[in-house]
Amino acid sequence: MNVYCDNAATTRMSKTAVEAMLPFLYDNFGNPSSLYSIGQRAKEALEAARADVATVINAKPGEIYFTSGGSEADNQAILSAAAQGEKKGKKHIISTAFEHHAVLHTLNALKKRGFEITLLDVHSDGVVTPEQVANAIREDTCLVTIMYANNEIGTIQPIKQIGEICRSKKVLFHTDAVQAAGHVPIDVEDLNVDMLSMSAHKFHGPKGTGALYARKGVILTSLINGGAQENRKRAGTENVAGIVSMAAALKEAAGQIGENGKKPISLRNRLIAGLGEIPYGELNGDADRRLPGNVSFCCEGIEGESLLLMLDDKGISASSGSACTSGSLDPSHVLLAIGRPHEVAHGSLRLTLDADTTEEEIDYVIASVKDVVSYLRNMSPLWRDLVNGKRQHVFAK
């Protein structure tokens, strides 16, 4: 059986998204900036896509800027707020310890330019509180940037309440909604956000296409200089096929959210319950305030990469936050941020489902993970020491 359980890494394009894209690769290949008909047809499609994306998140079309993906949107949002802040001598930014590197590395670059960065603690449940944000805001704070949902452990942040605080203190608020868009409802008015990033390939659209929502009045800095595209905020001939496809994918995904939708909350809970039977394993992050498709576990006594390789042999595609899978010496900063010790973070497993995942597949995944974990534990000297009481368990059971 082949089960793709890495939808947080990327998703398969939906048929709708593929079909939406095709006409703009061949028949309507024109440049939206050209005045003749095939150019203008592309322009119309581009603007229709903008309106569609805007509608899904309750924004206005003029507030949507298409980008090359989530990373670019994050960079642009943060660097824009920083540029405006700098002009007013406001060089303090608030974020969290477990943001995506597209955010953290941008903040690091700003730090080198003299900005002060406060990274809020995300606690063992993987959720920041609005109070933490309220307490961290200072006179010179120019931006709060907090992700909507975490990409590794799936926890959802109290964006609306944080937005209220930022609004009342007149501080710009950006949220990286790359993992949330198309998976949970997003209404930028209700959420009080000023900027929001999304990426098409996380909701069954194409890779290399994303969008930045920037509320009217927010001044964006152009990261790519050149032509006048995207209201002069993002030069370069538009990726028309990708953008049209993203809009179609987002509409489709958003339509599947909710009680009547086929989103996999019950399957997610089945998977959490099944993996919960593994002794000395624990769910990462809050069990309820999490994305419908995210399951993230840490298991004592094993290492994540060997777990992934063995699951791959069984047809299961998953991911881990172990050092060996990240290519660095340390395990994932997200797992460390929620207080997992290194030795446990190395044994992490992330399974991210989509609306097409079936109950049979979930049961197969549960059985396979259990098999592989006990196989690897059987050859693990660390596990032997834990069983013999030579080392202390991290988890209670």
Partner: protein
């Protein structure tokens, strides 16, 4: 290109000599849980020759494959020869390892040396400590 060579995957999928020798003559353990890999080698020694060897490993695919290959390379060999096993020989026998995984083969070499040293210590056999570097000389993990 795949992450690992066919050889690595073969030794990872079908590791040779996994297990424990209860009455081992020498046991060596290197690595630590914080770094994400621990290798433990058990040796049975007859007439200064490795008559049996088993390993247990906590670690990534290349750590498991390196231990498996290393045990194959020393099984049945005189101790003097086993002590000459280098991480390079383990890596070559595996048809190479990705650069950031080379330390797995270093661990395998060290685990074997640690097991032989344990045997020497237990039996009061003299040796030159220079031949037995400890974990500290290597910079692969930040601990």
């Amino acid at each position: 290109m795949a992450l690992y060579s066919e050889k690595v995957m073969d030794h990872f999928r079908n590791p040779r000599n996994v297990g424990v020798i209860e009455d081992a003559d020498g046991v060596g353990e290197v690595g630590n849980p914080v770094c994400g890999d621990i290798m433990k080698i058990y040796l049975k020694i007859d007439n200064e020759t490795i008559s049996d060897v088993k390993f247990e490993t906590f670690g990534c695919g290349s750590a498991i494959a390196s231990s498996s290959m290393a045990t194959e390379l020393i099984k049945g060999k005189p101790l003097s020869e086993a002590l000459k096993l280098t991480n390079k020989a383990v890596t070559e026998a595996l048809d190479g390892l990705p650069a950031h995984k080379l330390h797995c083969s270093v661990l395998a070499e060290e685990a074997i040396k640690a097991a032989v040293k344990d045997y020497y210590d237990k039996n009061g056999i003299a040796y030159d400590p220079k031949d037995f570097p400890d974990c500290d000389h290597c910079e692969s993990c930040g601990v």
